[in-house]
């Protein structure tokens, strides 16, 4: 398979996944920001959204220090100046899809193409909350459809495996980032850990990854920080968890290696990350600091991305 084709498929899946994540970040931020002012009146939720999405610096270049709800939404969802805005994700995904048209199934292409067309129907300025909610639902729906189309219609060969690797590398990154929102959203001084605001913030995070119900099924307890972290980091049952993502990454990279008859750096790194996740315990993670743990993970995950790139995509 052409390296460029593999590269396009890999990034196409990453960008579709990223669009989904951005919609989820905006979702959770809006929930947090809607808390009654009486609950503490913290106003840094929108800054936290930028930090979580990893684009606070680019935002500053465009809007300066004016971190309003409207500006952040415009920047994360629609801005052409933000290379990772939802709009740009869809646009890049579609451009990639066009140039690997022959490697996609009809269903995948139609999902990408029609959502790109539909995207234009959303105005970028002054969206009401209801419009924004509808937009978020549309983005998540698109991601679901694309994922489902790929899963149901693609041949199980290197094209499929590269697109899956891309999706799970991106998803692992996104899960880690969403979990990190809590680090960036400060608890006001008047609030205490384990208090109602703290609870609400953790629950919002679960909700944003559609995991609140799962949480109750798995733990049968009230929402607690270490359990949320356990679900999103270590629990292999949870399809967005870092462990689950790395199980999949390892599996699909192995499929590629078996198919080509050669193992390489990406397979080794993926396995060692999976092993480390398997050896982690929540107590230790919280001891060393959740934010630090996530930070290290995000760095390692990025390193896997560049090794996959060197090994196959250049």
């Amino acid at each position: 398979m052409l390296s460029r084709t593999a590269d396009n498929l890999y990034w196409l899946s990453r960008y579709m996944e990223r669009a989904d994540c951005l919609a989820r970040i905006l979702d959770v931020t809006q929930r947090l920001a809607q808390l009654p002012a009486a609950y503490g009146g913290s106003t840094n939720e929108w800054r936290s959204a930028l930090l979580t999405a990893g684009c606070a610096e680019q935002f500053k270049l465009v809007y300066g220090d004016d971190i309003s709800e409207q500006n952040v939404i415009a920047f994360l969802a629609f801005s052409p100046e933000n290379p990772s805005s939802i709009r740009n994700c869809f646009e890049i995904a579609r451009t990639n899809a066009r140039s690997v048209r022959t490697a996609l199934t009809m269903e995948m292409w139609e999902t990408i193409n029609s959502s790109w067309l539909e995207l234009k129907r959303y105005s970028t300025k002054n969206m009401t909350h209801e419009e924004l909610a509808r937009f978020m639902a549309f983005v998540k729906e698109t991601s679901l459809r694309f994922d489902g189309a790929a899963y149901r219609t693609m041949l199980r060969n290197d094209a499929f495996w590269f697109s899956r690797v891309g999706m799970y590398v991106e998803r692992a990154d996104n899960t880690a980032r969403i979990l990190d929102v809590k680090y960036h959203v400060l608890l006001p001084d008047s609030e205490h850990i384990g208090g109602p605001l703290d609870y609400f913030q953790w629950a919002s995070i679960l909700r944003s990854v559609s995991a609140l119900t799962s949480f109750h099924w798995v733990y049968r307890e009230s929402v607690k920080p270490w359990l949320v972290a356990d679900l999103l980091i270590l629990n292999a049952q949870m399809p967005r968890s870092l462990t689950s993502c790395y199980q999949n990454i390892t599996r699909y990279l192995d499929d590629i290696a078996n198919f080509y008859g050669r193992q390489g750096g990406s397979q080794r790194l993926a396995r060692s990350t999976l092993t480390r996740l398997g050896n982690s315990r929540m107590e230790d993670i919280f001891q060393t600091g959740l934010h630090e743990y996530i930070d290290t993970f995000v760095t390692e995950n990025n390193r896997l991305g560049s090794i996959v790139n060197e090994q196959y995509l250049l």
């Binding site: 398979m1 052409l2 460029r4 451009t95 140039s99 193409n113 067309l117 080509y260």
Partner: protein, 473 residues
Amino acid sequence: MSVAFDEMTNADGSIRPAYAALSRWLSNVPPDVLDYRRREAEFIFRRIGITFAVYGESDAQERLIPFDIIPRILAGSEWRRLALGLEQRTKALNLYLKDIYSRREVLKAGVVPEDLVYQNPAFRPEMNGQKVPHDLYVHIAGIDVVRVDSETFYVLEDNARTPSGVSYMLENREIMMRLFPELFADNRVAPVENYTDELLATLKSLAPGTSNSDPAVVVLTPGIYNSAYYEHSFLADKLGVELVEGRDLFVRNDVVYMRTTEGPRRVDVIYRRLDDDFIDPLTFRPDSTLGVPGLMSAYNAGNVTLTNAVGTGVADDKAVYSYMPDIIRFYLGEEPLLKNVPTWRCREPDHLKYVLDHLNELVVKEVHGSGGYGMLIGPRADKAQIELFRAKLKQDPNNFIAQPTLALSTCPTFVEEGIAPRHVDLRPFVLTGSDKVRIVPGGLTRVALEAGSLVVNSSQGGGTKDTWVLEES
């Protein structure tokens, strides 16, 4: 202008035999059914169009070429005669190109004037004395022909560079078979869908001597922003070969490789849909980012086949066109089976004088123009246009040829007011491999949808039709 020859109905109202079944069907089918099928065809095309080819990146406009649901029909005997002529013409084109880039007998014999070669912008001195695999240059030719009566086909233009449109031929048939199965039951229509198999066999037969037993073929595209990108991806898909861009290829030790996930893989035959100017920045335009640096050195070393060869443009412009009958006689010692449209070469003073005196009757074309642009259709032009061309002609006569306005044949076409005759042309595709020449029975019929219009180009409101060649039972 005289009344044009209609391919279905004779002047006395009788129906020509090839159209008998279609004519019966047309007179029985209710108009709303036709209209319904037409809309269905458009819907399917739009879907395929959206699916494959969204033209105009800015807002995904699907610039669909209109499709007419009434087929254009040729009798088997007509087609066989036409095919022989196409094969003859393509053979001559190949011999001419080989000669131009080697011994130049044709120039020495005074059959073609030297400056038509040496001053031709499509002439590639880099190809002088270069051997190309199997001595073939034009492997995929699109020869545009028009018809003026029941006996006579004229060649309108030779396309020896990167002729396009074959995907429409294939998709038009696909759609017709889906929409009108009953018509195919009543007519024995020769299939065209083996075109891509024939193309693959042709391309493989052209592999250089140094390649493996199973040569690797690729389609080289300028990329997704090219207006024919859809056809490139369509062909790669049907051929089952990689669709590559310049950056996917590289040259090492005069061998071309593509970058794959399993490392470099050798490439033997490149069906390139990229003009000469852009294929190798080291040899041609240095600013080209679409090509492959070093490709020409691999080509000259005989390690890769480019289809079509480099420099074929010197054989297909409108000035050379007028010499084609002589070129055929010179190389093959045969009379041309297909006629040329009588052509005045404005480069010759007596021809120029005639043209200037008869501008209101003639079609004047730029030698290097295409797509129906830069031409004057005398009988339809106003005074100002004619005077503009008179000035142009006087200033640069070498740049123009002139031809009589032909009464192009018409075919029944489904238009707003119902079924009416519209002018058509035909582009059959001629494949020349090292083993044999292959022509699938059919081609792309283009139709001028406006009443009386002779301009069939899709850029100017032309449409397409499925083209049927009937097999006699």
